[in-house]
């Protein structure tokens, strides 16, 4: 269903001003590109490149030509075909978070390091929840508790892809890691040609704002782009700390970061599918930390979606974020505000559900709660249909003054499309709530749902040969690290 984004933060003139400011930054200030091959691509396209500093200054026409090459829609293929995702700047999909350094243990309520078993559980729960489409994964985690550091991406990818039929994300962090993830995705796809034809993996590349592309992730960008695999190029400015405190300045700088990365992806392989990505937020200047649950993050997301739509490129943003350490009321209102501003603003890939504590921590219960919020966001995006059937004038006439609609076929017929049916929200009387649920809180309800999914949901298994081959690659990656250590 095409998306209508009712929340408009910027006027057309303001979008144009931000775009021109970004082009001006890329032309005059330029960006630092730490990867040599990337600088070569830029130089060949007509950029001025200073090899000693890595500074690349991009003429506006080079950027604008590249932006035109980026598709406005593309498909990311899941290994279970009906889970494939048709990305478009007119649709919204949700990407729950999976891999974080910490997890709020769902039994002890204590924060601890995330293990491989946690990754498997998180993916399994996300696999069971219908509004989750593109899955972040263990492959992205720089470290996983109990796993050798150099093989975390391979273990993380396997633990993820074997627990879901949905699309799984890969890591871009350096050439070797990117190659491993792509190699494993090719095994799942049925070979490299099949992977090129039907991409089943995507990644995130983060420019280091302001105006830098680091070496490792740029290597990753080149690897993914050369296979034509989808990449979200996402800048993460914190207003007042790593960008101007003014949100207009943040958007201009972010746009320069992102469109220079998108330009590189198009120079590597014209037509590479990309998202314009934001993880923009503010720094809380009293504590000196990022505030991902801030209302300004909602504004940044909605504005970013408009800028991306101006380019005709899908937008990846954040929503359902919170800085709270507990699943409490702060978590509830911050998640709702950020998710709804992003969704109603037109974000196409909504990332970060499942997180808490400024996304330092993940939680199974949060995945379930946020999924409910996503359901409400989809309902809000469907808006209100107005036609003869829904206006229902003959029905109102038939019921007449003082009547009710409970016994009408019209009510039963339209009920499901008109009303979102929550699974967690309790709308019973206080007495029923106490007697039937034991006065269960949101956390309790979510916890019960997590337990139910873990006990009953079986993800579609991998083909045994694929499973064996992926396990072989994981062992190979582990051994490679052992050799590197022996040689060092």
């Amino acid at each position: 269903m095409p998306l209508t984004a009712p929340l408009r933060i910027l006027t057309e003139d303001q979008i144009q001003a931000i775009h021109q400011a970004a082009l001006g930054l890329l032309q005059r200030t330029g960006i630092v590109v730490k990867e040599a091959r990337a600088r070569r691509y830029f130089r060949q396209a007509g950029a001025s490149v200073d090899e000693s500093s890595g500074r690349v200054r991009l003429p506006p026409d080079v950027v604008e030509a590249a932006l035109k090459l980026a598709p406005d829609s593309f498909v990311v293929h899941a290994r279970v075909p009906d889970r494939s995702v048709e990305v478009s700047y007119r649709r919204m999909h949700v990407e729950p978070m999976i891999g974080r350094l910490n997890i709020l243990d769902h039994l002890t309520h204590q924060r601890r390091r995330t293990s491989l078993q946690d990754v498997a559980n998180l993916v399994r729960v996300a696999d069971a929840l219908e509004h989750y489409h593109l899955l972040h994964s263990g492959a992205i985690m720089p470290s996983i508790e109990g796993v050798p550091l150099h093989a975390a991406h391979a273990h993380g990818y396997l633990a993820s892809v074997s627990n879901t039929g949905k699309v799984v994300k890969g890591s871009p962090r350096g050439r070797a890691i990117a190659e491993d993830c792509i190699r494993m995705a090719a095994v799942v796809a049925g070979g490299e040609d099949a992977l090129r034809q039907r991409p089943n993996i995507f990644t995130t590349v983060n420019p280091v704002t302001p105006l830098q592309h680091d070496e490792g992730q740029t290597e990753g960008l080149i690897e993914y782009a050369s296979f034509g695999l989808p990449i979200d190029v996402t800048s993460e400015p914190q207003a007042g700390a790593t960008s101007p405190v003014t949100l207009a300045g943040l958007l201009a700088q972010q746009t320069a970061d992102v469109i220079s990365g998108i330009t590189l992806a198009q120079l590597v392989r014209p037509g590479t599918p990309v998202w314009y990505g934001t993880c923009g937020a503010i720094m809380d200047m009293k504590v000196g930390r990022i505030a991902l649950g801030a209302v300004e993050a909602g504004l940044i997301n909605a504005a970013s979606a408009q800028i991306a739509a101006f380019y005709g490129i899908p937008c990846r943003g954040t929503g359902s974020t919170t800085d709270s350490k507990a699943l409490d009321m702060q978590a509830g209102y911050e998640k709702a505000i950020t998710l709804f501003m992003a969704a109603l603003g037109g974000i196409n890939c909504l990332f970060y559900p499942g997180t808490m504590e400024s996304a330092l921590t993940i939680s199974l219960e949060s995945l379930v709660v946020d999924h409910e919020l996503c359901g409400m966001a989809y309902r809000a995006l469907r808006g209100i249909q107005v036609n003869a059937d829904t206006l229902a004038a003959p029905l109102i006439e038939a019921v007449g003054p003082g009547g009710n609609f409970l016994g009408e076929r019209h009510t039963l017929k339209f009920l499901r499309q008109e009303q979102f049916l929550p699974t967690l929200s309790n709308r019973q009387t206080r007495e029923d709530w106490a007697e039937r649920t034991g006065s269960a809180t949101t956390w309790d309800q979510a916890h019960t749902e997590v337990e139910r999914i873990l006990a009953t949901h079986t993800p579609p298994p991998l083909d045994p040969q694929v499973q064996t081959e992926l396990e072989r690659i994981v062992r190979e990656v582990e051994a490679r690290g052992a050799v590197a250590r022996a040689l060092a």
């Binding site: 350094l101 720089p142 470290s143 550091l149 280091v208 680091d214 720094m283 200047m285 009293k286 000196g288």
Partner: protein, 222 residues
């Protein structure tokens, strides 16, 4: 004395207003008026910056004010330092810190806060920036006669560099010259213990408390 008090007041205001030019002018006025540079430094610069640091820790002021005021103090300090005797300079400083984000890591927001807080607490801080190669930590520490090395790392991969630096100090036989304090998102007390660092600090405030405790220790032993 009224003149001296007025100059101290100007110095204090320059810090609170984060006015670099005024800090330099007030410091020069203090020297021209024949004031004791060490006393002027303490009352005019150190005290207000310490107050700001404490106010920030109580969530009463905004971080940019602390960062800007700490920079103003650096500007004024340069003027007074010219007049300080070596002994007075030693007495004025609680410690010399060489700090940076390790090689491979290009994030420095957290470290920027630590630097501002340490300066506001009276430490001489040499900020090496981000993506700092290990030998540079040691070279600058040796050149500046530092006694403290601080290392930040934001990724579990780059965090390993903290361990490498400690090994390098051992190899060079200068491990005992430095108090090594580590921090950053993936770092923990257990990590600091496992690599043999002297201390771990979760945040800027804890870093100041930790180094202050060390300073008291050093003084009481001396």
């Amino acid at each position: 004395m009224a003149e001296h008090e007025a100059i101290i007041e100007r110095m204090r205001d320059s810090i609170l207003e984060a006015d670099d030019d005024e800090a330099v002018a007030a410091a020069e006025a203090a020297l021209a008026a024949g004031m004791d540079p060490l006393a002027a430094l303490e009352a005019g610069f150190s005290e207000p910056i310490r107050e700001l640091g404490e106010a920030f820790n109580r969530l009463e002021i905004f971080l940019p004010q602390l960062v800007l005021s700490a920079r103003t103090m650096q500007a004024g300090l340069k003027v007074l330092e010219r007049a300080l005797t070596t002994a007075a300079r030693e007495a004025a400083r609680k410690g010399v810190v060489v700090i940076g984000t390790v090689e491979g890591d290009i994030h420095d927001i957290g470290k920027t806060i630590v630097v501002a807080m340490l300066r506001s607490a009276g430490y001489e801080v040499h900020d090496l920036g981000t993506d700092v190669p290990l030998p540079q930590f040691i070279n600058v520490a040796e050149q500046t006669h530092a006694d403290i090395i601080g290392m930040s790392a934001l990724l579990s991969t780059t965090m390993l560099r903290q361990r490498d630096l400690l090994e390098l100090l051992q190899l060079k036989g200068i491990r005992d010259k430095y108090f090594v304090i580590v921090g950053g998102a993936p770092a923990t007390q257990a990590w600091a213990d496992s690599i043999g660092a002297n201390a771990f600090a979760r945040d800027a405030h804890e870093a100041v408390l930790c180094l202050n405790a060390r300073a008291r220790n050093v003084t009481s032993r001396a």
